[in-house]
């Protein structure tokens, strides 16, 4: 067997045997976590693919390494590093850390020999193949196929392409990809591969240089590693323990040892579908397993004739084998055969589109030495055996199977011998072409995708989502210590580094967000403590008289019970009219008190107002509003604003909704409630200020905001309108119900659920994610995410695990990675989350 390529034209390959093969790159369908409907959809698309094929086909799934540079490039996209050196440093360090881990994804190709086309095209191709062989003997230069032949073949390939279901996004492969595939199969297990050449749709005319197949590397193949033994050794003739292939590529220093195994049997009773994805199971391993599936698809009509013959043979066999032992004899096997045949016939009749698929599923693993390769192969075989799937590495067939995994090679006898017969729909249950990609194509590195054994970074671009007319808001649900705050803080830090603005409401005694924000170098941070303020939040001074007046009115309405439409409210409104304020120089709440004092001498309503205001103004929590010696918060010049609210208490729902409880409410709660509403409003003002700068509002322990109706409304405004103002909200809680009612919860597009050991809350979390509240998912959230070890600690390598739903509605498992900079890591981790104040 030699490299089959004789000439290329675009995605077409003329082979030495005269057949023309066409190859497409396919995209994996989202799969991993998901609802039953999603699974059925993915299954249906696979089924449609297999049922659309006729004749031979080769489906290839190869593990490709991704370049860390590529990933960091995506992290840098859209950020000017000259202005954001912090982000540049993070990216540079990320690049270093990515160099150390194996990154990769699986790439899929579908390769089909063109049997279509007129007999003339085919005979011409065959004639040319013969001629080529002859010319080669005479050392004459090769010829390329004439334009007319290329055009005819392209038309035939187009017909096939049209039949591939659109969800696979089939794209014609390039010559570079052909070469990559050949090199990859020669370097398997050596970790010397480059990333897959990404094609930007190179037409035929652009690749004349590679049209000749000289770019295809010629391997040196040695089955059983005979060359590793001495020619005189007797062991040479005992190949049983040497079921591997030694491949030396012209571009590698060392040989690669590879073991090819084929699936030779499945569970006799069958397997549940969807559920047992037996082909894509290899994704769960941490080692790279390549596979190729040789398919021969036949229409049901032809198969029924074959089955008829099989039945006749079966009947004859019943006669031939009559008289053998009824239970253990060969005759009893015939009953099983009859049962299988009956089931097959029924299955073929299930749909008019049904086809027979004769598939040889070949798994290949490689290693730098025979023992590694054999150990890897044994590992896979053992794992498949556990589910009753049998893998066999045929003795003396390793080289043939290796060739069978490459496009352009005709199906050999051993491949046919190892093939398994089933229907299109049932073969689709293996779900070979799947992907577990999560997140966006660029942005901050949120963490690693741990849905499968191969861990790839998840990038999230919140601002990009907003620019793409989606929402950048996200929510995290987790129990204490599961990593909720770490996730929120590290995202906040990244947003800042990329030039965004963050506003956080921090209610912890430890002031964790304040500590975090203050530890960030190069940012102008404002921490406003509600009880010991260094900055004034007086709305009239912070927002100016016009916007401030409105906020004062609603603040007083909540805090002092001054209803807008009663005499006091009307009086207040009159005082806060713009012109009136200007003429009387009311520029702050302090000035307002002063003015009321003057007015109050004649006006009893003003005196009453003054009295009311003084109830709050004289207390310690009044300082943040009424102390004129404090500088006002300068919204324009800040990068990070943190409101620390410890000391403010909030009424519970019953106290707000029950009139007699409401009247008995202590002043702390009345003021607390009003303050929270004002803070929420202020946060919105800050975030909505600049349409060209991304702003993220962080509401950890969200139930404090959503306890009041006003707070809930503010949150909803964020989720609904944030997009228009380049703002997003990040909410975190133990319970998704804290995020608001069903509508509000549903407005959060990106969702994270981390460990939650309480069953009720875990169920709610799974439900909020949008996954079916099944026992498996609930158990996963309760016990499988960052499980706590016997020493009551989570092992380091399992911290921060969770299930996420990305903006495109795909699900998967992630693990939060920490910032690459040590100081930032320290800042993010300083979380004594247990010391949350109890209110």
């Amino acid at each position: 067997m030699r490299i089959p390529a004789a000439s290329f034209a675009g995605h077409l390959m003329w082979t030495r045997t005269g057949t023309i093969w066409a190859t497409w790159r396919l995209q994996g369908l989202p799969h991993g976590y998901g609802t039953d409907e999603l699974r059925q959809l993915v299954l249906g698309q696979h089924q449609a693919l297999f049922q659309s094929l006729r004749g031979e086909a080769l489906l290839i799934g190869l593990c490709a390494t991704s370049d860390p540079v590529d990933i960091v490039d995506k992290m840098l996209a859209g950020v000017d590093i000259r202005q954001h050196p912090e982000w540049a440093e993070e990216c540079a360090l990320t690049l270093d850390s990515l160099e150390e881990i194996a990154l990769g994804e699986r790439a899929y190709w579908l390769s089909i020999p063109l049997s279509a086309g007129s007999w003339r095209t085919r005979s011409r191709a065959a004639w040319r193949a013969g001629l080529e062989q002859f010319r080669e003997q005479l050392a004459l230069p090769r010829t390329t196929p004439p334009e007319s032949e290329i055009a005819a073949a392209l038309a035939a390939a187009q017909e096939i392409e049209n039949r591939i279901p659109a969800d696979f996004f089939a794209r014609p492969a390039t010559v570079a990809e052909y070469v990559w595939m050949a090199l990859h199969s020669q370097h398997r297990g050596l970790d010397v591969d480059g990333p897959i050449p990404e094609a930007d749709n190179v037409g035929i005319a652009e690749v004349p240089a590679t049209q000749l197949p000289t770019a295809m590397p010629n391997p040196w193949l040695d089955e059983g590693g005979q060359s590793d033994l001495s020619p005189t050794e007797l062991k040479r003739f005992l190949p049983f323990n040497r079921r591997y292939l030694k491949v030396q590529s012209p571009h590698a220093d060392a040989p690669s040892y590879q073991v090819m195994q084929a699936v030779v049997g499945g569970p006799k009773g069958g397997w549940v579908m969807p559920g047992v994805e037996w082909i894509s199971r290899v994704e769960q391993y941490e080692l790279d397993v390549d596979w190729a599936i040789r398919l021969t698809v036949t229409s049901a009509e032809a198969v029924k004739r074959r089955n008829k013959r099989a039945e006749e043979q079966l009947l004859d066999q019943v006669d031939q084998q009559s008289g053998t032992l009824a239970i253990t004899g060969s005759g009893s096997d015939l009953e099983q055969v009859a049962e299988t045949l009956a089931a097959y016939h029924a299955s073929l009749n299930a749909s008019d589109k049904e086809v027979e698929v004769q598939a040889t599923v070949i798994y290949a693993v490689g290693g730098p030495d025979p023992d590694t390769a054999l150990a890897r192969a044994r590992y896979i075989a053992a794992d498949y055996k556990a589910s009753d799937f049998l893998l066999e590495a045929p003795l003396g067939g390793q080289e043939e199977l290796w060739w069978a995994m490459q496009p352009g090679v005709p199906t050999s006898r051993i491949v046919r011998d190892l093939s398994q017969i089933t229907t299109g729909r049932e073969f689709a249950s293996g779900l070979p072409i799947v992907s577990t990609a999560l997140g966006d194509d660029r942005g901050i590195r949120l963490g690693d995708n741990i849905t499968t054994g191969r861990h790839t970074p998840i990038l999230v671009d919140l601002f990009g989502n907003i620019q793409a007319d989606s929402s950048g808001s996200f929510g995290v649900v987790a129990e204490l210590g599961a990593g909720k705050s770490v996730l929120l803080k590290s995202v906040a830090g990244d947003v800042l580094d990329r030039g965004g603005l963050i506003v956080a409401l921090d209610r912890t005694v430890a002031r964790e967000y304040a500590t975090f924000a203050e530890s960030l170098p190069g940012t102008s941070t404002r921490v406003i403590d509600m009880l010991e303020p260094q900055w004034s939040l007086d709305p009239l001074r912070v927002l100016g008289p016009r916007k401030g007046a409105r906020m004062v009115q609603s603040l007083f309405s909540l805090m002092l019970g001054i209803q807008t439409m009663d005499t006091r409210g009307v009086q207040l409104s009159g005082l806060l009219e713009a012109e009136y304020m200007e003429t009387h120089r009311i520029t702050s709440l302090g000035a307002l008190i002063e003015h009321l004092r003057e007015l109050g001498e004649q006006n009893p309503v003003a005196a009453e107002l003054l009295g009311l205001i003084r109830v709050v103004a004289t207390k310690d929590f009044g300082a943040v509003l009424f102390d004129e010696s404090l500088p006002p918060l300068d919204l324009k010049a800040v990068d990070a604003v943190v409101f620390t609210t410890h000391g403010l208490s909030l009424p519970d729902r019953a106290e707000v909704e029950n009139e007699h409880l409401f009247k008995q409410m202590p002043i702390e709660k009345i003021v607390g409630r009003a303050m929270y509403a004002m803070l929420a409003q202020l946060t919105r003002e800050v975030c909505f200020m600049d349409r060209h700068r991304f702003a993220l509002a962080i509401f950890d322990e969200t139930h404090h905001i959503s306890a009041s109706r006003d707070g809930q409304a503010e949150l909803q405004t964020f989720f609904r309108d944030g997009r228009k103002h380049a703002a997003a909200a990040a909410v975190g809680s133990h319970d998704p119900h804290d995020f608001g009612d069903e509508v509000t919860r549903g407005l959060i597009p990106i969702r994270f659920v981390m460990r939650q050991r309480d069953e009720t809350l875990a169920k709610r979390a799974v439900d909020w994610l949008g996954l079916p509240v099944s026992r498996e998912y609930v158990r996963e959230v309760m016990t499988d995410l960052s499980p706590i070890g016997s020493d009551r600690k989570v092992p380091v390598e399992r911290r921060g695990e969770g299930i996420m739903r990305d903006v495109r509605g795909r699900y998967g498992k992630f693990r939060k990675t920490l910032p690459a900079r040590p100081d930032r890591r320290q800042a993010v981790l300083s979380t004594p989350s247990a010391s949350v104040e109890i209110s």
Binding site: R2, D36, V69, V72, D73, L76, I81, R82, P85, A88, C91, A92, L95, N218, W220, L221, D222, E223, G224, Q226, S227, L229, P231, R236, L238, P239, Q248, V264, G265, G266, G269, G270, W271, V272, M273, R306, N307, A310, Q313, L314, Q317, D319, Q320, Q321, T324, S330, D333, V337, T340, A343, Y344, L395, G396, I414, Q420, I421, T422, R425, E426, F427
Partner: protein, 184 residues
């Protein structure tokens, strides 16, 4: 789940061991049924023994026949002991034998590599003698008359020293690397 679907391989419906247990007239073959492989091997043994009878003949025709039938039956019985696998037995056997005799040097471009034995490359060449000596002597004189070109010590490199031009960055990562290099 209520509507659980079951998928399976139907390979056995098509590929099941074919056996021969009855004669054409319907009577049972003693010791049967036999697999096709058994019949094949037994048949080959029978034919082989009959054809080579002259080599091992005991002289007694009846005894010869008995031995032939006995050996053929023995072969059949032995072949019957081989467990029935999913694969074609003959193919598997051929594969195993092929594995034993794989070329020692591996294959390259479809051909087994045979390393040539080390051998001496013998060849001859002639070196023409120098044309004339006097010319050389003259040249040497000229050279000695020249002043010693020793003090070429001062390096004149600055003029031709390679100017390090910062490469213009292309991708964002290159820019990043360049920036980090500059700051270090």
């Amino acid at each position: 789940m209520a509507n659980e679907e079951i998928a399976r391989f139907y390979t056995r419906s098509r590929r099941f061991p074919k056996m021969i247990g009855r004669m054409t007239d319907g009577s049972r073959i003693p010791g049967g049924p036999y697999t096709l492989t058994q019949v094949g091997f037994g048949g080959v043994a029978l034919m082989g023994l009959l054809a080579t009878r002259t080599l091992w003949s005991t002289g007694a025709t009846l005894l010869d026949l008995a031995i032939t039938v006995g050996v053929a039956w023995g072969v059949t019985w032995l072949v019957g002991l081989i467990p029935m696998t999913r694969r074609n037995l003959v193919l598997a056997f051929v594969g195993a034998v092929a594995a034993m005799f794989k070329p020692h040097g591996g294959r390259y471009q479809g051909r087994p590599i045979r390393l040539a034995r080390p051998h001496q490359a013998i060849g001859s060449s002639r070196v023409p003698p120098p044309v004339t000596a006097p010319q050389n002597a003259e040249l040497e004189d000229v050279v000695t008359e020249q002043p010693p070109a020793l003090p070429a010590r001062s390096p004149q490199r600055p003029a031709t020293a390679p100017v390090v031009t910062p490469r213009t960055a292309v991708s964002a990562v290159e820019r990043l690397l360049q920036q980090t290099k500059n700051t270090n």
